[in-house]
């Protein structure tokens, strides 16, 4: 379990990036963190792996108070994939990038090889094995950053904007992997602006705005509320927008539900 107790943080005195955040993310949750640019999402998640320490309040990960631990200690359990992959990638080749953390954590060589090969396949990077990471495309670099964290198998996985640079097929693949890891018991936290991705794949949402928690709850419940969306500078997923424009009594993020309502309306009008 991850607990934020009344956490505040500011980079510059007087301007809160996080203000009195209290929040619980349970073990084995798959949750999205949404909110406007500058809302404090990245600041929030950097508190979970101890990169930032609360200036007041506390962050408890499992039974560890992050203030009493180090990033190196937390990293084995909490993997963070940075918003900008270039902050993370540094090795000479894709393969070395993937094995770095595992070697560091002292995993046996056979295990490292097995996992590197898994990651190369899963993220479609096999053909770039020997290539320097900075010569990959934007989407490929993002996938490599993701792969290098997922391959060492941390219990909690935080992904800051994982879908940037990804086409739909990659996103679906990624989502299926998240679901599978989640059903194996991993806690997964996805920071994103990609409303369609959230609507399609992520069951719970935490809305952050201006350094505070604005709302949290099941995805459909949160994403169908105009007021919340507006306050966090979000726009509804297309299916919700369509539901509103058709004045459906129950706006939905489900393709099947919205489509069958539309079908019913069309058929009625033909009678």
């Amino acid at each position: 379990m991850i607990t934020f107790k009344d956490v505040s943080y500011s980079y510059t005195p007087g301007a809160y990036a996080l203000q009195n955040i209290s929040l619980i993310i349970g073990d084995g949750e798959l949750v999205a963190v949404l909110g406007e640019n500058g809302a404090g999402k990245t600041t929030l998640v950097k508190h979970i792996n101890g990169l930032l320490k609360p200036q007041s309040g506390s962050v408890i990960v499992g039974d560890t108070d992050t203030k009493k631990s180090t990033v190196a200690n937390l990293a084995r359990r909490v993997g963070l994939v940075f918003q900008n992959p270039d902050h993370q990638l540094f090795a000479e080749t894709v393969e070395k990038e993937l094995s770095f953390a595992m070697v560091n954590f002292g995993m046996p060589p056979e295990e490292v090889t097995k996992r590197v090969n898994w990651a190369l396949e899963e993220f479609e990077l096999a053909k770039y094995k020997e290539k320097p990471p900075f010569l990959l495309s934007g989407g490929e670099r993002k996938r490599l950053a993701l792969a290098s964290v997922l391959s060492y198998d941390p219990q909690t996985i935080i992904l800051d904007e994982p879908t940037t640079g990804q086409d739909d097929r990659q996103k679906t693949r990624m989502a299926n992997l998240f679901k599978q890891l989640n059903s194996d018991g991993k806690t997964i936290i996805v920071v994103t602006h990609d409303m369609e991705f959230v609507a399609n794949f992520i069951p719970r949402v935490i809305l952050i705005s201006k350094g505070k928690v604005l709302a949290e709850g099941p995805t459909e419940e949160i994403l169908t509320q105009k007021e919340y969306l507006e306050r966090a500078s979000l726009l509804p997923p297309q299916l919700v927008d369509l539901s509103w424009k058709l004045s459906l009594s129950k706006p939905s993020i489900s393709f099947e539900k919205v489509t069958s309502e539309a079908l019913r309306m069309l058929e009625e009008s033909r009678r």
């Binding site: 980079y11 510059t12 909110g35 406007e36 640019n37 500058g38 809302a39 990245t42 918003q83 900008n84 992959p85 270039d86 010569l135 990959l136 495309s137 934007g138 989407g139 490929e140 996938r143 800051d160 904007e161 940037t164 640079g165 990804q166 086409d167 739909d168 097929r169 990659q170 679906t172 602006h193 990609d194 409303m195 369609e196 966090a232 500078s233 979000l234 726009l235 997923p237 297309q238 299916l239 927008d241 369509l242 424009k245 058709l246 393709f255 919205v258 489509t259 539309a262 079908l263 309306m265 069309l266 058929e267 009625e268 009008s269 033909r270």
Partner: protein, 279 residues
């Protein structure tokens, strides 16, 4: 007249075994708004680098064919000359930001054009307020959030007022309302000032309704090139695994299930068609 003309363009990066672009032919007319997409790694960013001459000038490699922008061949004119006509926002703008403040960052390109101070100041202010980041002007780019940095890169581009804007996933880190307002700025520049726009995106739902044309790459080749309707409703687009908007998918499902004939690109258009059918 075509403002961008690409003929028989093939390109391989140095030491790369396979070509990244293969025999690309593409014309973009003045004032056109072209939306580009395609699977990750298909060559979109590489193509953008060709449009302002960064390829081959800074990257080397093997370059065949011609790229002509506003009458200038990119292999015969230096990058700084081309880039006054073609402004490029990179996919990962943070890596391009190096000044000590947002204001200086946006002014940087203008100073290089040797514009009068007053002109520079007013263009900087205008660009910052257009993008909605005036309050950040004294901050250092490294003290900004990911989306804020992206907005700085966009403001710096707009301040230069080039004839052609090339934007490589400019909204990837923007919240949906900011993404929408940037798109609205582009649409206005395109409609009111005749600026030519080439926009690379993976998420097509927001921009497709505004584009004149949609070009899809696959493994270094242009495989689809037509109106957004033609492209997004095609079988090929579906099989490529690019981001077909949900509205298009609903309309396609309605067409299969009850012979619905519209090809809407926005939820507004689809809703009007459905409600309109009620008469």
């Amino acid at each position: 007249m075509a403002i961008i003309e690409v003929k028989g363009l093939s390109y391989s990066y140095p030491e790369s075994a396979v070509p990244t672009l293969i025999n690309v032919d593409l014309k973009v007319e003045q004032c056109e708004f072209v939306l580009m997409s395609g699977p990750s790694g298909c060559g979109k960013t590489t193509f953008c680098r060709c449009l302002n001459g960064l390829i081959p000038a800074s990257y080397g490699g093997t370059f065949d064919g011609t790229v002509t922008v506003d009458g200038l061949s990119t292999t015969e004119h230096p990058v700084y000359e081309i880039s006054q006509r073609v402004g490029l926002v990179f996919q990962n703008p943070e890596n391009e930001l190096f000044c000590t403040s947002v204001e200086r960052e946006v002014a940087f390109g203008l100073e290089n054009l040797a514009l009068p101070r007053q002109e520079i100041r007013s263009r900087v202010e205008e660009a910052l307020s257009l993008v909605g980041i005036s309050q950040l002007k004294e901050k250092s780019p490294e003290e900004l959030s990911g989306g804020e940095q992206q907005k700085v890169a966009i403001a710096a581009l707009l301040a230069m007022k080039p004839k052609v804007l090339v934007l490589d996933e400019p909204t990837a880190n923007l919240d949906p309302m900011s993404a929408n307002s940037i798109l609205k700025i582009l649409v206005r520049l395109h409609r009111e000032s005749g600026v030519t726009i080439v926009l690379v995106e993976h998420r097509l739902e927001m921009s497709a309704p505004y584009a004149d044309r949609c070009v899809i790459f696959e493994e270094g080749r242009v495989v689809l090139n037509g109106s957004p309707q033609e492209v997004l409703y095609s079988e090929k687009a579906n099989s490529l695994g690019i981001g077909i908007p949900q509205v298009v998918q609903v309309a396609k499902s309605l067409s299969a299930r009850c012979g619905f004939e519209g090809r809407p690109l926005s939820s507004k258009a689809l809703a009007e068609m459905i409600l309109g059918a009620k008469g």
